[in-house]
Amino acid sequence: MKSCLVVDDSRVVRKVARKILEELSFACSEAEDGKQAMEACAQQMPDAILLDWNMPVMSGIEFLRRLRKMSGGDGPKVVFCTTENDLAHIQEALSAGANEYIMKPFDSDIIQTKFAQVGLL
């Protein structure tokens, strides 16, 4: 079973995403901000990370940059999932090492196709 870390400061979004991902047979864990996500990755790298952009303490983009420098940090497939929906943000995310990008609002179809595209399904 593949693992996915869901990083979002909204409890509701985490819950919705978790439900969709569990239906796709992922073992899910959650983090409320980039810092918590760093701690989770230091303990064990997940196969996938669903990542919000704007969060208190540490943003998603900052987390991603730090993750890619960590030992084993190039392993997880990172899929942004954010309300930031302009080209500049998307390009910034890709150059920081994101594998895919979801613009909120999302549904299970979008998560499924995006995860399939990066080879997680």
Partner: protein, 284 residues
Amino acid sequence: MRVEDFDMFATLLKQRSGLVLTKDKAYLLESRLMPVARKWNMKGLDELAATVRTRKDEALLRDITEAMTTNESSFFRDQKPFDQFKQVVLPKMMEARASKRSLRIWSAACSSGQEAYSLCMLLQEEQAKLAGWRIEIVGTDLSAEMVERAKAGVYTQFEVQRGLPIQMLVKHFKQQGDKWQISQQLRQMVTFREYNLLSDLGGLGQFDVVFCRNVLIYFDQPTKSKVLDSIARIIAPDGVLYLGGAETVLGITERFRPVDGQRGLYTLASGPGFSTAGLKAAAF
């Protein structure tokens, strides 16, 4: 809805689009035709039915037909056929047409154009190999509204996230407010035309590759046969036809046969066939 009204609408749809409407779809008829009735300032479906009976207004009949057709589409729908196109069909076609250096592809019942544009994006990736080739992509749909949408190439945020890898979005689309428009370069690669699959297809010319996926499922058996036979008349002798995952030619027409080992791919029964021998990446 009264039974005779349902039957009248069903007959009209069958004649004009081939669409078969079974009795259990009465709810669909009602929900889709109400907006048409409103547009034409009618009180409801009774008045709409009465008007159709007494006055054969072409614009009204067209609105009714378009409202009832399904326009579901997404970029790289089902993915596999596109991988297969890139790895098997395109190399094979390029080999067979090496001297002529031209290729014509048809996206039949193209809806808002995602299938045709997905092919454009694939062909762009292969452009180094295709230098000097004349490639024509034609998209047709019976709905004037869909043809206009396809030509404009403007999609919602939701549409560009269904099947389209993010790198392709960045590479080929421009943001316009909350919508995304496909690049002019790609729009120029496709000719979109209003065309009814039930009409004589001769005016479209001959095609090397035909995509007619998830269209036949809406037709009854005789209509399926008729459409497949018409396609057979305008496909190149060694051309290929793509059908949807739930569709087949078996028992419907003798003119096509499945290509061995290639799901969803068909070739003319009378043609030389489509052999994937000699191709490296034929891993399907």
